[in-house]
Subunit: 203 residues, 2 copies
């Protein structure tokens, strides 16, 4: 969902430590100023170990994006225990008010997205990420329709619209200082969801 902290549980400890170091360095320096040396500075083991596993910073970042994708899918799976309005509210909280750690994550993602127009491997991962996020929103809408809580709508259209707006909000927040009126955006999005899905769209 591009606004939670990664690295909750990870089996391959060295890979995990290298990707954690990559993420830590990315949060501080952004993409353009990121170097293997700066990643190594965050890594508790030797720099040569990084070179044994990865050809350069882009390979580390692509593997980092793979790890995120695996974790998104796990988070989304767990989420199915709640009803559709509660899931929708959690999604809005997560994407619009992610807290300091989440905002730092959004900034790091914006930095990598900024390179994506010029980097095929990054773009391929973000294509997949967006497909997973959109699929998650589609599944929420479908669940709400199946449970009789939401109006019958074209779930792909609604999901595309909602995800585009939520990502636009993160993009704006991470690249400007004023952060406009986030409450106004949320109220307008909730009004849209109620008019589209029904009065109980959001818990």
């Amino acid at each position: 969902m591009e606004s939670g902290a990664p690295f909750n549980a990870e089996s391959d400890e060295t890979r995990s430590q290298m990707l954690r170091a990559t993420y830590d360095a990315l949060q501080v320096h952004g993409y353009a100023e990121l170097t293997i040396q700066r990643i190594a500075d965050e890594f508790p083991k030797s720099k040569s170990l990084i070179y044994q596993h990865y050809g350069g910073k882009d390979e580390l970042l692509v593997d980092f994006l793979e790890l995120l994708l695996e974790q998104f899918e796990t988070v989304f799976e767990e989420d199915r225990s709640h009803d559709a309005p509660a899931r929708l509210e959690r999604l809005l909280d997560h994407m619009l008010s992610p807290g300091p750690e989440g905002e730092s994550f959004v900034r790091a993602m914006t930095a990598l997205r900024g390179e994506a127009p010029y980097n095929d491997a990054f773009r391929a991962r973000f294509t997949e990420t967006d497909r997973v996020i959109r699929g998650q929103v589609e599944s929420i809408v479908r669940q709400g329709i199946d449970d009789g809580v939401f109006n019958p709508v074209d779930e792909t259209r609604v999901a595309t619209f909602v995800v585009t707006t939520l990502q636009g909000a993160g993009f704006h927040r991470s690249t400007t200082d004023d952060g406009f009126d986030e409450d106004a955006l949320r109220r307008e999005l909730e009004d849209y969801l109620e008019s589209r899905l029904g009065p109980d769209a959001v818990r």
Copy 2:
């Protein structure tokens, strides 16, 4: 509006040529791989002339963003000769289907936005850019209300929502390969505008 081509008319020829070269090099290389040498390769005069005016690539890029801002304001001024539904339709065309040159511009803007979380000067310019774009949409909505074509609504809320969605669409398009269903997004956005502003919201 972040999807038109700059450099329509420019008085200071050398500044214009340097910023044109900056933009040309940015479109090819993105931000991280952009260098003064690559800008100089696109510049018809000598590289030393660039150094006489600018301390480095970031100074060129900040001046480039300033130029864009000036041009946005001019474009928006001219636009006031049309009625509100026509202006809204032009905005949607411009942001959702900008054509090849416009898409290249959106990619270049995404590249610079990617650096914005880590660069105060870039972030200050994008803050201003977004304020101008939001102001433009507010003025369209206000005009529609004044003319009795749109329902009375909170124009800031609607403008914030519309601009966030439109920017999210450009962000997605420029950083992924699938480009989802743009028509679905546009139809959903038009449905939202009609439910909010009235049946004649978009020409």
